[in-house]
Each structure stands twice: as structure tokens, then as C-alpha cells.
Amino acid sequence: MPSEKMLTVKDAILEALFEEMARDDRVCIIGEDVGVAGGVFGQTKGLFEKFGEARVVDTPISEPAIFGMTVGAAMAGLRPVVEVMFGDFITLVMDQLVNQAAKIHYMSAGGYTVPLVLRTAVGVGGNLGPQHSQSFHAWVAHVPGLKVVMPQSPADAKGLMKAAIRDNNPVVFIEDRTTYNVKGPIPDGDVIVPLGKANVVREGRDVTIVAVSRMVQIATKAADILAGEGIAVEIVDPRCIVPLDRETILASVRKTSRALVLDAGHLDYGITGEIAAIISEQAFDYLDAPVARLAAPNVLIPCNTALEPLIVPNEQQIAQKIREMLNA
């Protein structure tokens, strides 16, 4: 559509932040280098100049206290977006996230809510090594009381960030740095993408791929390869892993009778196991093949340009897996 503008994922999220901060002055941005520097990846560029230091807050390198204070500020009436610079550093805020933020609504019997967004960037691919490439989405998804969003397209990223800011729960918003420069159309206006609603990114009759974040883009390349071989792949992007839109996933599998679940995180005890179990339990009678999974092997992510590409499943491996599923 010609009226739609094109933005990258990074700029789409930034646009959501600009719009939400202008709409609601309780929204503030807190984190290391989010203010004057505009973010280490330029992901908060211009916010400080527009909204000032009271609402775009540069912090010391004190993740536990910064996140803890964000929880307290959210309980007291603000709607903060707090940035944890690298997804790996979530380990530093784990106590306040798991033992405070996630539990306050339940423990207070609904007396308090914690409307905050923990925004963080993950992604294998920059040769950043084992302490700057991990994604702990499965860890946080395991904790009741946290919502977990993993966008892949610019339009989704913008609409989901708006929904996350307006949500009354702690939302962990996980951005994959390798998607930051992906460009796509952005619809005009105040468009919200609701949390917990999957998107069928591509329709097909032969096999369902369930994937979030960058894996949707890699799956799309695999689907293009297979289309040339006459295989029609359907791709379901849950967009949020909590809450998970089970219905859309199950409806797709009931149609195609085959499911492959992908993740850029580790295979063992990760989200692919959870989603595969849901499909096996609730669509078993429809399956023509066991549910298959591809994810990162259980090794740490090497700081080595030759080894790093072996971590995240690629389009060739995905295509091959699907060929095997169809021939089984």
C-alpha cells in the first residue's frame, strides 16, 4: 500500500515509544545509556531531547536496583519502560523480576499492579560471545505473572510495544538485534497488536512451522526454498510466548497434520518442548508425523565467527527437516 511508510524494526519500536510517551506522561524510559547517548544501538535516539531527563533516565550500572525501582515506580502509578542492555543481563534483575514484579499482583490479591515493560535485546550473530548473545525467554516464560513478547516484523514490533506499555502486567519485551534493520510497512495511526494473538504469516497446506522472532524470517526463507519443490509451508508466529495463542497453533496443525517448532534459544528444556507438548496433547489425532523441533544445541554461544553460525538453525536445515517429515 502506497500510504504505508517503511520502517526498520528498531525505528518502529522507537516510534511506538515516541507515541506512547506523548500520549501518556506516566510513561518513562529508564536504563543505561538510554538518554544522552540515545541507546547503544540507537534504539532510544531522540527521546531524551524530546521528553527530557525526568522521563528519559540514564542510570548507573546497577541493574538490580534499577529494575527494582522500576517495579516500585510502576506500583506507585508510573508506566515505565526499563531497558536491560543485553538479554544476558536479565540474570542480574532476576530476583526483582521473579520474586517481586511477577508476584505482586497475586500476593496483594489484585491490590497492586505492576505495569512495566522490561525491554531487552538478544541475538546470536554479532560474534558477541557467550555472555552477550543468549536469550532467556524460556526462563521468564516459566514464571507465572510475566508476559513475554518476541516480535519479528516492524509493524508487529510497534503495535506490540504499544500493547505492552498499556498492559497492566510486567511484560518482558525481547527484541532480536538481528531483526533490527529488517524493513517493513507500518500502518498509519494508533495501531495496537494485542498480546497473546498469533499471526499466520504464511499460509500452506503441507506443514506448519511455529516460530517467533528471527526464526520467522529464517523459516520464511526455508518456505521459499520448499515452494520451489511443490511443498506449501504454513508459518504461525505466536508473537507472544506468554500468553500463548494455542488455538491458532492448533487450528493450523489440524489443517496441515504436521508441525515443526523452531527456536533460536536452546533446545533442551526450551520453548520448543512446551509448544510440541501442547500440539501432541491437543492435536494428536490429527498428526501424520511426530512433532519435530529445531533449536540451538545445548552449548554456549562461541565468541568465534566460524563456530557462531552453527548455533541458530538455518533455512537449509529447516528445509531438510521438513523433507524428512514429509517422506516419513
Binding site: 548507573p60 538490580p64 527494582g68 525501582m69 516500585g72 508510573l78 505482586i104 499482583h105 496483594s108
Partner: protein
């Protein structure tokens, strides 16, 4: 120093302390009667600090405290019946029985948080101060915490942030540790005040057994915090109650007998030294000596508090346990 002078204000402060004490005694009775399990960290011996703080908070001010929280929440004005019901796990509790002794909150009085994690609330309190400043209503955030919190890294980070950003926060440390004893904290610094001081936070020390001294210090601190929008750190030095670290709530020093204030011959036993200087009896002695109250006034006040607690106990006892179906609801807003 803003001292309390009116007789009413002094008696009201004593009433608040008595409510905290009689509340904890109700907890001990309930624990014996119901044989319930789980840790309870009683506030006995700390009343002088909590009462002085809670008496001076305004509507809209935010309180964030610790595991030793029962006195704080009833001192802040939460309904004692609902607080006791919460500790007993009842539906009628402040949090529907879901928070229990360790996680009591009450939105109606700005009682934001208590935490079973040592250091769990100090970050939240810093955020409360950030929000108070941002919302511009002139409110302050208060953190009450033990000396053990200074062992946790988050306290340093919270002080640093609060200082850097001039946040309106009262950091009230209830220090029940003795130098070198290492029972609840292990600081390499000579004095715990040296830590906030190094971060340019104004600090004060006060005798936590002297409620009027704490009241004066807190009054001065709050005035400064509200006017200058800065954090202040107070160390209240407390003589730990001998039952402070028991596993099951018990009357380690007996049920409080207010007449011991004037009939000191009644004070006997292995904990006589603690009882002699505990904050409630000490305050009663002061009020009597300064002729702010007569023995009969004190007894009447205590009766009034005991009658209030009797009602609270009846309410809590009558409140049912929550329905099982409800237990799985409410993780999300």
C-alpha cells in the same frame, strides 16, 4: 527539632506502640491455638521506630518494608483484624490470605510492599521515591529495613541512585545488630552510616528505644525530604528482642504487663534486662515522670487497645480459609 509536645500526640504515639505490641501477642496466641507453621518475625522491641515513622506519614506517602513487618502495617493504619487474618491465611485478610505474614500490603494506606527477600523492598522504595517526584504531589517514599539489607548489593545501588537523582526517600534502618556480633549483618565498614554517607546522603543516628527521639529525628528528616527533595538515612539503634529469631512465635519475654512500668519489682527472669529498657515500658515511665499521664490513663489506653485487638482476633478467627479454586487465579492483572 520538631518535638511532640501535646499530651494527645504523646498518648496517640503510645497507643500506636501498644497496638503493635498487642497485635504481635495476638499472633503468638493464634500460633499456639492453631499450631500454624511458617516463620513469623515479630516486631516486638522495634515499636519505637515504626510508630515514630508511621505517625508522621501523610496520605499518599508510600511505605515499603521488610520481613519484620507486622508492626509497620498496623502502625500505618491497616485494619488489625484484616492484618491478623492475612497472617492466618484467611479469606478476609488484607490480601485475601495470599500474602501471609511476609507479603502484606494495603493499597488503602499506601503500604506498597513487604518482602521475605532481604533487600527485596529497597529497590521498590527507590522507585516509589522516583514516582513521588515525577507525580509532583509532594509525597515521599519510605523504606524500613534491617541492618542485613546493607549486606545486599542492591542497597548500595539504591542509595547511589537516590542520591544522584535527589529522590524524596526516607531510608530508615532498624539496626538490631551489635558491633562485632554478626547475627543479622556482617559489614566491613566501621559504622553502617559510613556507606550512605559516602554517597552524599544526609545521615542521622537515633536511639530506637526512645520513641520521642526517633519521632524528632524522623520529623526533621521528613521535613528535609519534602522541602529539598533529597533522601535521608536514619539508623535507629534497637536492642533486639530475645525472641527476634525464633522459628515459632512464642512469648520469650512474657505477655506485656504495662504495670511493670511503675511496679518494677515485677520484672524478673533471664530477660529482665531487656524488659527494663524495652521501648513501651520506657515511654510509659517517661510520660508518668513528666506527668503527661497518670497510671489510670495508661491502663485505660492499654484496655482500649486490647479491646480493639479482641475484635480483630474475633474477625480473623471467623474468617474462612480461601476457596481452592481461587488459588490458581490472579497471577495476571
Amino acid at each position: 527539632m520538631p518535638e511532640i509536645v501535646s499530651r494527645e500526640a504523646r498518648l496517640s504515639l503510645l497507643e500506636r506502640m501498644l497496638l503493635m505490641r498487642r497485635f504481635e501477642e495476638a499472633v503468638i496466641h493464634a500460633a499456639a491455638k492453631h499450631k500454624y507453621i511458617g516463620r513469623n518475625h515479630l516486631y516486638i522491641g522495634h515499636e519505637g521506630t515504626g510508630a515514630a515513622v508511621m505517625a508522621q506519614l501523610k496520605p499518599g506517602d508510600l511505605a515499603h518494608t521488610t520481613h519484620r513487618n507486622h508492626g509497620h502495617i498496623v502502625g500505618r493504619g491497616a485494619d488489625p483484624g484484616r492484618a491478623l487474618a492475612e497472617i492466618m491465611g484467611r479469606e478476609g485478610g488484607l490480601c485475601g490470605g495470599r500474602g501471609g505474614t511476609w507479603h502484606m500490603t494495603d493499597t488503602s494506606v499506601g503500604f506498597q510492599s513487604t518482602s521475605a527477600m532481604v533487600g527485596g523492598s529497597i529497590g521498590l522504595a527507590t522507585g516509589g521515591g522516583f514516582a513521588c517526584k515525577q507525580l509532583g504531589q509532594g509525597n515521599v517514599s519510605v523504606a524500613l529495613f534491617g541492618d542485613g539489607v546493607l549486606d545486599e548489593g542492591i542497597s548500595y545501588e539504591a542509595f547511589n541512585f537516590a542520591s544522584q537523582y535527589s529522590l524524596p526517600i526516607l531510608f530508615m534502618c532498624e539496626n538490631n545488630e551489635k558491633p562485632g556480633r554478626r547475627e543479622t549483618s556482617m559489614l566491613a565498614a566501621d559504622r553502617l552510616l559510613d556507606i550512605p554517607k559516602a554517597l552524599k546522603i544526609h545521615t542521622m543516628t537515633v536511639d530506637g528505644g526512645d520513641v520521642e527521639a526517633v519521632h524528632a529525628a524522623v520529623g526533621e528528616a521528613l521535613a528535609r525530604i519534602r522541602k529539598d527533595q533529597v533522601p535521608v538515612f536514619i539508623e535507629s539503634q534497637i536492642e533486639a528482642w530475645p525472641g527476634s529469631h525464633q522459628h515459632k512465635p512464642e512469648f520469650t519475654t512474657g505477655e506485656t504487663d504495662i504495670s511493670m512500668a511503675w511496679d518494677t519489682g515485677k520484672i524478673t527472669g533471664p530477660h529482665a534486662d531487656w524488659i527494663r529498657q524495652e521501648p513501651i515500658l520506657r515511654y510509659v515511665r517517661k510520660l508518668l515522670a513528666e506527668k503527661a499521664a497518670a497510671q489510670a490513663d495508661i491502663e485505660a489506653l492499654d484496655k482500649k487497645v486490647q479491646a480493639k485487638m479482641a475484635k480483630a482476633r474475633d474477625f480473623a478467627e471467623a474468617s474462612p480459609f480461601p476457596q481452592a479454586e481461587g488459588a490458581i487465579l490472579g497471577a495476571f492483572a
